[in-house]
């Protein structure tokens, strides 16, 4: 990413200066990250990678650190899955009273990171993807928001799964936003100020371990807007490990959500991630998969169901560095009203990565005349013995299928709903944890009914 003179970074650097301090072991790492952020600056639409993401409305709003708040159990209930070990964060701060950390693994809040134990591994890996040592090729550059998160996160979750451990129950990490009432903007207007939180997640899967992690981003009050979530998540998948990850994003429909995820895979590791986006006004997710060990596999799937004036941008980059690596991406979008989506997926195959098998698919369903879908599936290939394919489609519901259903006595509205649901369902069904699958299905139906006929 080229250095450009974007909007002023000063308000965010000011947040750094006024931050509350951190675990001693992380100090240099953070300093480094904030320097990188300062050097890179905020991207503008003149940066190729940010061409279609206009950050104007976010960067015009004055950022303020999210306020501390205690949360009631009833506010949390809708987002939690029964029996799941969990870590709950409110406005980026750990809420121990609401959490029940898992026993089989080491799960620590970053703010309480001491010395010894998990700390050593955490310090080694935290921010490695941002600061360059483990990041994708140099031209991927510094991700400004990942750097910003590294410099500014107040707290976060570090989950260390020991070698050989097989964790059956999924671990849930809930990131709840609950901005102070004063910060909320009038609906439909760009806010003058935003409360910012920087959720940070690090998952280290030991050799031959198995686990699944569910991340939920939500607003305590769905009507609350005017907040900005800037999460970063890193997954370090040791040799032979199997890690499942589900990322449910159900933020308020006028919230800002700019996320970064990075997975690094050792030999024969497998990382399977599903990202489901229903909320947020301006949403951007940058997901990177780095296949750094022979025989590793990653699946990066996603679904976005947006309406109103929501904007959702998914940037993916999968790098095949070693031979016999495979990757699959399937992103589906349903867009209604004036919603806009961007899918930008890049598969990068290094010269050494012979026998790569990579597949990338993006399908978009436009339900309204004013919806706009952008799809940029990209391949960069430097090895010859590979199989790489990508496909992209954008279209509306099949009139023949609608006719078929209506001919059988199903009303237009219902037939419409059935077809859209059928289109999106594939990604919901992937969830093997039953309560999660049910929750996703309900959310899908709700968002289809909410925007489907509007």
């Amino acid at each position: 990413m080229s250095v450009s003179r974007g909007p002023s970074t000063a308000p965010y650097l000011d947040l750094y200066a006024r931050r509350g301090g951190e675990a001693e072991v992380l100090r240099t790492r953070r300093q480094e990250a904030i320097e990188r952020f300062e050097a890179a600056g905020f991207p503008t639409v003149r940066d190729e990678e940010w061409r279609q993401t206009n950050l104007g409305s976010l960067l015009r709003a004055a950022p303020g650190a999210a306020s501390a708040r205690t949360i009631q159990d009833r506010e949390l209930a809708p987002f939690l899955y029964a029996d799941c070990p969990r870590m709950v964060f409110v406005n980026g701060r750990y809420a121990p009273e609401a959490s029940s950390p898992p026993r089989q693994v080491e799960a620590v809040a970053l703010a309480e990171l001491g010395a010894g134990g998990a700390a050593e591994a955490v310090v080694e890996h935290l921010g490695a993807s941002v600061n360059g040592s483990a990041s994708c090729s140099a031209d991927a550059g510094v991700h400004p928001f990942a750097a910003l998160n590294t410099g500014l996160f107040e707290d976060g979750a570090a989950i260390v799964i020991p070698d050989g451990a097989i964790v059956e129950q999924p671990l849930q990490v809930l990131w709840l936003s609950s901005p102070a009432a004063g910060a909320q903007a009038a609906r439909g207007k760009a806010p003058a100020a935003v409360e910012v939180s920087f959720p940070r997640l690090l998952v280290i899967a030991g050799e031959n371990s198995q686990a699944s992690v569910i991340e939920t981003f939500a607003a305590a009050d769905p009507g609350a807007g005017g907040y900005f979530v800037c999460p970063a998540a890193e997954f370090v998948c040791g040799a032979g490990s199997v890690l499942h990850h589900t990322r449910l994003q159900a933020d308020a429909t006028d919230a800002f959500h700019l996320g970064f995820q990075h997975a690094q895979l050792e030999r024969s590791a497998s990382f399977d991630s599903s990202s489901l986006a229903f909320g947020g006004g301006l949403v951007r997710n940058d997901t990177m998969g780095l296949l750094d060990g022979e025989g590793s596999h990653c699946t990066l799937d996603g679904l976005y169901v947006v309406a109103g004036s929501q904007f959702v941008d998914n940037h993916m980059r999968v790098e095949h560095r070693q031979p016999h690596t495979t990757s699959h991406q399937l992103y589906k979008g349903v867009l209604d009203d004036r919603a806009r989506s961007v899918f930008n997926g890049r598969i990068y195959v290094h010269q050494a990565a012979q026998k790569t098998d990579a597949k990338q698919t993006n399908r978009n369903l436009l339900l309204s005349k004013s919806a706009l879908a952008n799809s940029n599936p990209q391949l960069e290939i430097f090895a010859d013995d590979v199989r790489c394919t990508h496909g992209s489609t954008i279209g509306r519901l099949d009139e023949d299928a609608l006719f078929y259903l209506r001919a059988r006595g199903i009303g237009r509205e219902q037939a419409h709903g059935m077809l859209v649901y059928a289109f999106a369902r594939e990604l919901v069904e992937k969830a093997s944890f039953e309560p999660l699958r049910q929750d996703l299905e309900e959310r899908l139906l709700a968002s289809l009914n909410g925007g489907g006929d509007g």
Binding site: Q351, A373, C388, I394
Partner: protein, 482 residues
């Protein structure tokens, strides 16, 4: 039996077959670019004041522009002040009336290229407007075309004889400040072809121009303008070969096509400029802006290109589908061998209702070549029921080359149907083995497989071109197993 690798080695090491330099005296402007040079070019060509003003406006725009760096190509920076912007054979003032008056050396050049001047042209049925460096020295079949009202001449002649047409259409599809290289071309364009097909006329023959870059240090800035009036049809061929030399040469052409109601333009290119030697020394920089406007209803523009030459190619023949029911097509085979780099593709901009476009792109990379497909499909809100189908396939030969695909798809109308597919593959050992077993040697097998890979594009080329294209491909690379 030679192994596949030996065969590839032998083929990729083959010398450039069309390399030679013809000695002809040149009437050349001093190197450098300034308003004076532009005025000199304009005066040399006896141009009207409005055209000089147009050039100067483009130049002033160009001065404010920055050379684009987004393309996936690497090359030494170009010193625009060391290029000669004008070179014409001495015979410019006294243009030859027949072939006898033409410098025998030039004729010999054409002979070597196999351009069918004289009797051959009748047999081949091709009207040739041969551009030798910058000024047309021979135009044939003019009378026959004139009977139908078809104008096919060099651009400078068109400026003299049909200024109203040139003035009306020049820069309407590619504005003079469209991009860095188009602006440079607009300022200094030397010559090119001009085609005008009147209403209802179906041009009876394939119109063809052969370009040659022949003078040392002379950038070539072609300007082509093709106008097809209502209900007309024209097929235009452009083919290039260039002599061998060691200095990088800049070629920044602009091609504008305008198709009115029910008109059809078919534009085919075989490009085989000098690609540089195996170490990447020399070779042509080919930075071309080609764009067609489907102005009227049911009009159609079809681009077919076979790109085997040039050290660096930067080229995106595009269609603006403005008329309802208009059709745009793009068929491309791009080959990059040794150190060649190609960043090519198309833009299809759907404006009118029920517009449709097809993109078939085949990229072949060998040696250390880098081949990039970069395409954009935009379906605007007004483009009700638009359709697009894109297919971009890459073939990799050897393990040091690269194939890249960067499609941009923007759809703002839900009735649109948009499909994009891409795949990357290599020639499988099993395919070669299968052919070997049936008595086909490795070289032929590879050639067969590559030709099969490109078949969909070759099918679109006019007959004579298809043969030439296949031959070129065989020269450029037949070897295909890494």
């Amino acid at each position: 039996m030679p192994t596949a690798a030996d065969t590839i080695g032998a083929l990729t090491e083959r010398d450039y077959e069309y390399g030679f330099v013809t000695d002809v005296e040149q009437d050349t402007a001093p190197p450098g670019l300034s308003e004076e040079i532009i005025a000199f070019i304009s005066a040399k060509k006896n141009e009207p004041q409005w055209l000089l003003d147009w050039r100067l406006a483009a130049y002033r725009g160009w001065l404010k522009m920055v050379e684009p760096t987004w393309a996936n190509v690497r090359y030494e920076p170009i010193d625009y002040q060391s290029i000669c912007y004008y070179a014409a054979p001495k015979s410019d003032d006294d243009r030859p009336k027949s072939l006898d008056e033409i410098d025998p050396e030039i004729l010999a050049t054409y002979e070597k290229l196999g351009i069918p001047l004289k009797e051959q042209e009748m047999l081949a049925g091709v009207a040739v407007d041969a551009v030798f460096d910058s000024v047309s020295v021979a135009t044939t079949f003019r009378e026959k075309l004139a009977e139908l009202g078809v104008i096919f001449c060099s651009f400078s002649e068109a400026v003299q004889d049909h200024p109203e047409l040139v003035r009306k259409y020049l820069g309407t599809v590619v504005p003079r400040r469209d991009n860095f290289f188009a602006a440079l071309n607009s300022a200094v364009f030397s010559d090119g072809s001009f085609v005008y097909i009147p209403k209802g006329v179906r041009c009876p023959m394939e119109l063809s121009t052969y370009f040659r870059i022949n003078a040392m240090n002379t950038g070539q800035f072609e300007r082509t303008l093709i106008i097809a009036e209502e209900g007309s049809y024209v097929s235009y061929l452009e083919g290039c070969t260039a002599p061998m030399r060691d200095e990088n040469q800049l070629h920044a052409a602009v091609v504008e096509l305008i198709a009115h109601e029910d008109a059809q333009i078919k534009y085919s290119t075989v490009q085989n400029w000098y690609p540089g030697d195996k170490e990447g020394v020399g070779g042509i920089y080919n930075f071309v802006t080609k764009r067609g406007l489907c102005e009227g209803r049911r009009s159609k523009i079809s681009w077919t290109q076979v790109e085997t030459g040039s050290a660096v190619t930067w080229k995106y023949p595009s269609c603006i589908l403005r008329g309802d029911d208009s059709v745009g097509e793009f068929y491309s085979v791009a080959v990059s061998n040794n150190r060649q780099q190609a960043d090519t593709g198309t833009k299809m901009i759907h404006v009118g209702k029920r517009t449709s476009s097809t993109i078939i792109s085949k990229g072949i990379s060998a040696g250390e070549g880098q081949n990039t497909y970069r395409g954009s499909v935009r379906i605007l809100r007004s483009a009700e029921d638009a359709r697009n189908f894109s297919q971009c396939d890459s073939m990799l030969i050897g393990d040091r080359c690269g194939a890249h695909t960067f499609p941009y798809i923007d759809v703002a109308n839900p009735s649109a149907q948009m499909e994009h597919e891409a795949s990357t593959s290599k020639i499988g050992e099993d395919q070669i083995f299968y052919c070997n077993q049936r008595g086909i040697d490795t070289e032929d097998a590879v050639s067969m497989i590559v030709n099969g890979f490109c078949k969909e594009v070759f099918r679109e080329l006019p007959m004579e071109f298809a043969v030439e294209a296949q031959k070129l491909l065989e020269v450029s690379l037949e070897g295909s197993v890494g």
